[in-house]
Homo-oligomer: 229 residues x 2
DNA sequence: CGAAGTGTTGATGATATTCAAGTAATGTGG
DNA sequence: CCACATTACTTGAATATCATCAACACTTCG
């Protein structure tokens, strides 16, 4: 359990943070009301269908945002990384969480109470505007994901997901999704994901060390990703 | 080509409209800058990847919001009806349209210039808040659609779509999507959609008159929709 | 009336899921 | 730190689901 000073939030080694537009008073208050703690790998941050009381800022680590499919399978909607907000949407619309969030690695996460966030939105137009644009961008990506899942074969979706995960990572960062999570990310089952990964390995598009997948032929994967037959 | 008075926008036979919170000055200005016209069935309202200069308010009729899949097939993201806004998202984020909008019936649509909309957002917090909540709700529905397409078989998705279209309609309203559009809505092809519709007809879940589909056993369709095998 | 668009059905094959049976890696308590 | 349990990964075979191609009927509309 570790409390970060607001300054840490603002000046994170050159990273853009959504809080950079807060006044020093707002930052001070943020420090008072926030709670920062470590979530162990696999630990839920919030659960689908529970009432939203707070949103979360990912300080360090990775969080999968998931939704339960009608068959009980877990669809991963997106993966939140350092400097991302999760759970803010339900706070804005005052509803229950429409998805779950689970740490996929040991992660440092800051809880921000609902009331403070809403006050920020009301009083800080720049912040409000940033949040709105974030919403628009998330919606764009989500809509793109729909057409992908609807029309792109699993093979292409896996290739795309591997590239996407690759881009998510700065320098020496590293996530290893389980094969099951990777499957959940593209909307297929574990076994199919594994088979396709084996093919990619055979085709020298990726390398596998231990369990972790390393992209070695980005162009090749891009080609597979844009193929539709 | 017909110009509606702002009053018409506000007091539409008991329907909620997003403009109900505008001041009379704002409504007056809206009247000056808007252009209302009839779009014939099949006529595009705006096109994916073109620069956004305006958003659109559906006064009457239905508009499909679509996105091109990587294989050139058209995915329908949602169907906008009377009192819905389309294209506002790209206006907010100042980007190109991320989707196309096409009238699926003769429709009366009001064009609202970008600058006026942005000014409204800035000056009318209630309006801004309504738009933000609309964004959140759209995102919810879009995410649900992802898990549906990912894990629900086509059969269930068609059942769901038919129910959804049914709910969209008040009283005596009526849309007839082509089988191809219905397929595009659930992410399949025309032939598969037709086959499943035939089964539903055979099972007395729906009736078909001319080309139009009428739900006659809502419970039954709900059951099919929630079945995953 | 003819042409274009829409709807329909059958046959076939590709793609992906399911079930089953393991192996490999990781974590935990003694 | 080892033994054992648990979790993750892998592969094969059988099957289900869905897309594609092709041919044709029906509607609508200029």
């Amino acid at each position: 359990m570790k409390h970060l000073l607001p300054n840490d939030l603002v000046s994170k080694k050159g990273r853009y943070t959504i809080f950079s537009c807060l006044s020093s008073e707002e930052l001070e208050e943020l420090e008072l009301v926030q709670t920062t703690q470590v979530y162990k790998k696999g630990q839920p941050v919030f659960q689908e269908n529970t009432q939203s009381a707070a949103l979360f800022y990912v300080n360090q680590g990775f969080v999968k945002v998931t939704k339960l499919g009608s068959n009980g399978k877990e669809q991963i909607l997106r993966i939140a990384k350092t400097d991302d907000l999760v759970g803010y949407r339900s706070v804005i619309s005052g509803s229950r969480y429409k998805s779950s969030a689970i740490a996929i690695e040991d992660s440092v996460i800051t809880l921000i109470p609902k009331a403070f966030f809403l006050k920020l939105l009301q009083n800080n137009p720049v912040f409000y505007s940033k949040v709105t644009i974030m919403l628009c961008e998330t919606l764009d990506r989500t809509e793109t994901k729909i057409t992908d899942i609807a029309y792109k074969p699993v093979r292409g979706r896996i290739a795309e997901a591997l590239l996407l995960l690759n881009d998510l990572l700065d320098e020496k960062e590293h996530i290893t999704l389980t094969r099951e999570d990777l499957a959940g990310l593209v909307g297929t089952v574990k076994e199919t994901a594994i088979r396709i990964i084996s093919e990619f390995k055979h085709d020298k598009l990726i390398e596998i060390h231990k369990r972790s997948i390393k992209v070695v032929n980005e162009k090749g994967l891009e080609k597979v990703s844009s193929l539709y037959n």
